[in-house]
């Protein structure tokens, strides 16, 4: 038991400090790296709670994929120029601090004064059920591929839709005019000649009224 308390103390202190560092350090790259530290230590907490699967997912998805994505975005957008962002967002702080305090108070209130809610949170999977199923990964898989099979499948449609949307929005506009039928290319060439940025309402066809 004391081992667990020592481990929990270590994990929670480092996670909290790294969490503060994530929002306080100046460089966005350092911020992202602090986030990796947070993620690893939260994963450690999942291990302490006996959920190895969630810990692995936490490391693979957050540390492995999402933070790497952050770093790539920063590299590609060259975010070093925006290090003074905090001065720009000064006003938001007055909204952010009360909300953060409120959320913290809420969590503390649930944890301390309402033990019956935490009891409910165990839901259909109290620890002994999970043990019977053979571990948290098995328990999760059982639920996901039986009761929640449909949302799981629909999530793949959602990802497909989002991927197509991202491609449409990220595609180079010049390629679009090349992909359209030949008569459209002439039109596009016509408007391209007149202005670099056709921002007018639906200016794909030259306005020739009257």
């Amino acid at each position: 038991m004391t081992d667990q308390i020592v481990a929990f103390t270590y994990l929670s202190i480092v996670a909290s400090v790294a969490g503060l560092a994530t929002i306080l350090v100046r460089s966005p790259v350092h911020s992202a790296l602090s986030l990796v530290v947070v993620v690893f230590h939260v994963a450690g907490m999942f291990v302490l709670l006996g959920n190895g699967f969630l810990a692995a997912v936490q490391v693979i998805v957050y540390a492995g994929a999402i933070v790497v994505l952050f770093l790539f975005t920063m590299m590609l957008l060259d975010l070093r120029r925006h290090e003074t962002e905090r001065t720009v967002h000064r006003r938001q702080i007055w909204l952010a601090i009360p909300i953060a305090v409120l959320l913290f108070a809420e969590v503390a209130w649930i944890a301390i004064s309402k033990p019956e809610i935490s009891e409910n949170l165990k839901g259909a999977f109290p620890p002994q059920t999970i043990d019977e199923l053979g571990g948290s990964a098995q328990a999760l898989a059982t639920v996901m591929f039986t009761d929640y099979l449909l949302p799981f499948e629909v999530a793949s449609v959602l990802l497909l839709a989002a991927a197509i949307g991202a491609m449409v929005l990220a595609r180079n506009p010049d390629e679009e005019s090349l992909a359209s039928p030949p008569d459209m290319i002439e039109d596009a060439a016509g408007t391209d000649g007149s202005s670099d940025q056709p921002e007018g309402e639906l200016s794909e066809t030259p306005a020739t009224h009257g």
Binding site: I110, K114, I117, N120, L121, K122, G123, A124, T146, D147, Y148, L149, L150, P151, V154, A155, V157, L158, L160, A161, A162, I164, G165, M167, V168, L169, P173, E176, S177, A179, S180, P181, M184, D187, A188, Q197, P198, E199, G200, E201, L202, S203, E204, T205, A207, H209, G210
Partner: protein, 487 residues
């Protein structure tokens, strides 16, 4: 466990997803944006999905996939409405907006439609959440489709940011609900709530309130409406038509399921919140609409007011002893609203293509140059205003009856006063079209409207008339849809 019956009941959604995927594949193989082929595929898919849905019109409420979805007539009814909205959007766009890739456009519209269809039947928090996202994310993309216009990109960013924020609030409310009850199924939540609630409990209020606020963002209800005029204005006009109707009715359907099933034991707790949101929307939407000179923004505020009318219907349903009547008035209202709003945006689109302007002044003297769009726009404006015998009149009438039946006379008065105010801005368009001369220097020659646009406008116009004249017929179908449903 999944069975064949369950899959059979899901065939309409599967067809629509398959058609969207087929459209994308065809566009890759044919290398060229073959718009009419795409449209035909889309219409064929919608027809097939609609025909399959109709087979199960008289189905008893059937929970499938462990209660994730419930197929009942309510689901079937709304599936048909959403398929119609999708087809109207595709037909309206097919020979317009030449610079956008139409195959991707069609697929995105269809994905969003699948989200709405699933949302109509979703009876589990997880399913509801995924369906809401599948409905909303494609619409953010659609808003930005004409991204060579700066206003379109700006609108999409605003819509996306606030939409994501609303999703977070919604998810938070759902998490509270799950934390309180330990259940995700709406039925199961309703069963376990009475054990937890003895008085208006602050946790239940918080859970319900957060879910309600999240949905209020999605349907654009005052004071959670600020994104909607910018989004409607910046989006390509067919998309404005789509998003003013589809996601709004989808979110309302979800709210009906939530209030009618999950939160029924505690719905008295949120009455006041619903009253305030409905009244604020009716008053705010109508007053702001009066001040608009841009017709797309005017229609955006008008649709905020219409959200208020629909929310008033849901508010009536929370009053004890009203039964299910408010719910079927809502279904009727949804159909009426879809027809007249799509029609109005279609005429605005015609004018936008014609004059490059979405100002109301562009409608000056339209009746002298082209009578057809002028007459049709008059039908839509009068229907939105609520003139008999048009669809909008009966929609409002049924909601007022439901409100009076629920002893909410004051909300009915707010609704009527709001409608009187709305006469100013709806009739102004009619006055401009028929009683003003065209602006100096404007092109006075009559102009041809493409067949696809004209067919949407005519269908919506005839629909608005027919749904009004045969209101009893549709009202009975809507009533049976609710009575045969599972709440």
């Amino acid at each position: 466990m999944m069975t064949r019956t369950e899959l059979t009941l899901l065939v309409p959604e599967i067809i629509v997803v398959a058609v969207a995927a087929a459209i994308l594949l065809v566009s890759v193989v044919s290398k060229r944006d073959n718009r009419w082929l795409t449209l035909m595929l889309g219409i064929a898919g919608a027809l097939a999905a609609g025909a399959f849905s109709l087979q199960y019109l008289d189905i008893d409420p059937t929970p499938i996939f462990s209660g994730q979805l419930t197929i009942d007539r309510f689901t079937v009814f709304l599936r048909l409405v959403f398929l119609l909205v999708a087809v109207a959007t595709l037909v309206l766009t097919v020979d317009q907006l030449e610079r956008i890739p139409f195959a991707e456009f069609a697929a995105t519209v269809l994905f969003s439609t699948v989200g709405m269809m699933l949302l109509a039947g979703a009876t589990d928090l997880i399913m509801i959440f995924i369906a809401v996202e599948l409905m909303a994310i494609p619409v953010y993309v659609l808003t930005a489709f004409t991204r060579f216009r700066r206003i379109s990109t700006e609108a999409a960013i605003k819509y996306f940011t606030l939409g994501a924020f609303a999703t977070a609030v919604l998810a938070y409310g759902m998490a509270w609900t799950y934390g309180l009850t330990g259940q995700t199924g709406l039925k199961a939540i309703a069963e376990s709530l009475p054990a937890i609630v003895d008085a208006p409990d602050i946790e239940v209020l918080l859970a319900l309130g957060l879910v309600l606020v999240g949905m209020a963002f999605k349907v654009a209800v005052v004071p959670f409406h600020v994104w909607s005029p910018d989004a409607y204005d910046g989006a390509p006009t067919p998309v404005s038509a789509f998003m003013s109707v589809g996601p709004k009715i989808g979110a309302m359907a979800m709210l009906v399921r939530m209030v009618g099933m999950a939160f029924e034991p505690v719905s008295a707790n949120i009455q006041v919140l619903l009253y305030v949101l409905a009244a604020a929307s009716i008053i705010g939407g109508n007053i702001w609409a009066v001040q608009q000179t841009n017709i797309k923004r005017m229609l955006a505020y008008s649709s905020i007011a219409h959200s208020g009318y629909m929310l008033a219907g849901i508010a009536a349903a929370t009053v004890a002893g009203t039964g299910d009547r408010p719910f079927y008035t809502l279904l009727y209202y949804g159909v009426a609203y879809a027809l007249m709003n799509i029609g109005a945006f279609a005429v605005v689109f015609v004018m936008e293509r014609r004059t490059d302007s979405v100002e109301i002044s562009a409608f000056r003297g339209l009746a002298q140059t082209s009578w057809m769009p002028a007459v049709m726009m008059t039908i839509f404006m009068l229907s939105l205003l609520g003139m008999p015998p048009l669809a909008g009149f009966f929609g409002k009438l049924f909601i007022i009856q439901a409100l009076v039946g629920a002893d909410l006379g004051w909300l009915a008065v707010v609704l009527v006063v709001g409608s009187v105010v709305s006469a100013y801005y709806y009739l102004r368009v009619v006055v401009y079209m028929f009683m003003r001369n065209p602006e100096e220097g404007a092109d006075a020659a009559p102009f041809r409207i493409s067949d696809s646009m004209a067919s949407v406008i005519f269908a919506a116009g005839i629909g608005s008339l027919a749904v009004g004249i045969f209101s009893n017929w549709l009202f009975e179908i809507a009533r049976d849809s609710v009575l045969l449903a599972s709440f």
